[in-house]
């Protein structure tokens, strides 16, 4: 019974993973990826990893929400109103993907990992907690520092006003003629990057 469900969920995870690159709408792509994660989380629940399974769904729901926001923000035609394909080196990629999947699959089929299933009565959540506070304490605190670095890095990279003024100031090449349009590649929709009247002072 469990085998059947695990197989179905694996298929679902793979299918939704495939859909990510096949749907036109960026929102659908993001949430298709989320469904793939949910299937993996459900497999975790079935394989007596309740915490990891459910927490995967929890974390990935949040992350895919953010993912969808950014996908829509930065992709052309985010809703896929015009069907589109935006790929390069397509054959190479397909080849690489197939080779990777096949070789890994072959490795799975020909290897014999030890069989040692998790005990049914084990309190896996508490074990994880003791592990975090005991032997793996350093990993735990290192993760904290890494996340802090990520937070600071993300703020510095993405926010406009920093200690050194607006991040985009001085980033445009000078004009070819005096006061003319900036040289180099033009963004679509034209420059218009010139008035920076900054709105602030609330919040």
């Amino acid at each position: 019974m469990t085998d059947l469900w695990v197989a179905l969920l694996s298929l679902f995870a793979v299918w939704t993973g495939w859909r990510v690159f096949r749907v036109d709408s960026m929102v659908r792509a993001s949430f298709s990826l989320m469904l793939s994660f949910i299937a993996v989380g459900a497999i975790g629940v079935l394989l007596s990893a309740p915490y990891i399974g459910v927490a995967t769904v929890f974390m990935m729901a949040v992350e895919m929400m953010v993912m969808a926001i950014f996908m829509v923000m930065f992709m052309m035609n985010p809703a896929g109103l015009n069907p589109m394909v935006m790929v390069h080196q397509h054959r190479l990629s397909i080849g690489a993907g197939v080779v990777a999947a096949l070789s890994l699959g072959a490795a799975v089929l020909f290897s014999r990992p030890p069989e040692d299933a998790v005990r049914a009565e084990a309190d896996v959540v508490a074990e994880l907690g003791h592990e975090l506070l005991g032997p793996s304490m350093l990993i735990f605190e290192t993760a904290g520092v890494t996340l802090l670095a990520t937070m600071v890095g993300a703020v510095i990279l993405s926010s406009r006003q920093g200690r050194f003024g607006a991040a985009d100031e001085g980033s445009r090449p000078p004009g070819l003629s005096d006061g003319g349009a900036p040289a180099g590649r033009q963004p679509e929709g034209g420059g218009g990057h010139h008035h920076h009247h900054h709105h602030g002072g609330h919040g």
Partner: protein, 111 residues
């Protein structure tokens, strides 16, 4: 297994319910237009939407990772005692530096 079955069951039930209840929708072209108080728009509403607190959302996904560590920590908190309090205190203190930094940079409002 029960958890899985129950969640799957509710989801399937709700979807069936929605399919059964929702009739197909129809409309003429002016009817289908988005409601703008009688006004009209040139373009589709779907767009590269300028989500204003984008920096906040990035900070959020990094900060939210802490939950993954906190849940198992909560289970062993009483048995580990003061050590658990100290370690999680340190962890949260490290992360709150990031939040304070973000606050100073003014990211918790519409950019």
């Amino acid at each position: 297994m029960v958890t899985f079955a129950v969640i799957l069951g509710w989801t399937a039930l709700a979807v069936l319910f929605a399919i059964a209840l929702s009739p197909s929708a129809t409309a003429s072209a002016p009817q289908a237009m988005p409601f703008l108080g009688g006004g009209s728009a040139e373009t589709h509403a779907w767009q590269r939407f300028h989500f204003r607190p984008y920096t906040m959302s990035l900070l959020f996904i990094a900060f939210e990772m802490e939950m993954m560590f906190m849940y198992p920590w909560a289970v062993v908190f009483v048995s580990e005692g003061i050590k658990a309090l100290a370690e999680m205190g340190m962890f949260l203190a490290i992360l709150s530096v990031g939040i304070l930094y973000g606050w100073r940079e003014g990211i918790f409002r519409w950019q």
